[in-house]
Structure formats: C-alpha cells, structure tokens
Symmetry: C2
Subunit: 105 residues, 2 copies
C-alpha cells in the first residue's frame, strides 16, 4: 500500500503510550505514530539520521543544543550521532517519522 | 537548524516550477518543496526508497500499479526500484519528501 491518510490511518500499540504503523523499505522506515500525553524520552542518540513532521498536537523536542516546542506542520531533522529527546504535554501528539530501516541502520 | 515550520519556510527555486529547501544529513535528505500547477513527471525509478507527505494542495501520484490523487495529510512510500511519477493540477502542491542523501543513495 503506497498511500496513507495520516489523519485517519489505523495505528496499533507499539509500546505503552505509543501507537504506530510503519512502512518499511530496503532503506527507509516511515512511521506514523501517536504518543500519549505525559510521556518523555530524556535523550538518546544513534548512528543514523532521523526526521519527521508533527501532524497534530504538540511535543517538545531537543536536538543537540536546540530545544523547541513543536506544533502542527513543524518538522525536525536529527543528524546521525546527535543526542535528542522529547516530551509530550497534556494531550497526545501525532508524528510522521522517518529513519533508516533495520536493513540499513 | 533542527526545526522548520513547513507552512512558512522560505523556499528557493530548485528548477523551473519547483521551489525547495533541503536538510541534508549523512543518510537522509528531507526536502520541503512546492511544485507549481500544471507540472508532470511521467515516471522514473531509482535504487533507493523515497517517501513523504502532502502539506497543502493536491497531486496525482503513481507508485508501481497504484495511482491516487493525494491531498493534505496523505503520505506516499516509494520502494526502491519501483517506477513512480506525479502530476499537479490547477494549483501548486507542497510536499515534505524524504529520501537518501547523495552520501548514501
């Protein structure tokens, strides 16, 4: 299935508080995910780039020294190796997130 | 700059009828692009995955045997090697498009 509507796409529980659906190719993984309110990733890094866009809701992210509260149609680009993290507030956030598939990354 | 607002981001002419801005990492290239009305790519293929999301406007795309008119918040995933193309109608379309950076792809 080449095409999704990310507003109406059916997601499944990936881990507690994160619902997702993934398209996985030879190189890329594209994930539509909804993160519940009140969740946090205090920071991690990995040896590949990651990027994405907020579809709905609000999320605070940091990428290296930059920190920003992102709302709808704000994008992020996380260069390989740079520490990054996020937290949600009092409502869920929906993202379209892209990184390297496990076949590569 | 880790964060963009894709609704207000300043784009520059990439080629006639296509305005764009790119974030380029070791692995990924993320491009915000606006394609003018009445443009078409009748089809091509490449040996890496490509994906993205419609931010505003309408575009017809085909990926292999699937063909769809995409509007805001509809995404596409083009597996490596699969023929794909697109055309715009009577107004521009804005996309956030992700593929492999030239450092990899």
């Amino acid at each position: 299935m080449a095409f999704w509507n990310v507003d109406t796409l059916q997601l499944q529980e990936f881990r507690p508080g994160i619902m997702s659906k993934a398209a996985i190719g030879d190189d890329l993984i594209m994930v539509c995910m909804e993160i519940a309110a009140g969740k946090e990733d205090t920071g991690h890094e990995h040896a590949f780039d990651q990027c994405g866009l907020v579809i709905a809701g609000t999320i605070e992210m940091f990428v290296g020294e930059e920190r920003k509260t992102l709302t709808v149609h704000e994008s992020y680009f996380i260069p390989a190796g740079l520490r990054h993290g996020w937290k949600t507030f009092d409502s869920p956030v929906k993202l379209l997130d892209i990184s390297l598939s496990s076949k590569v990354g």
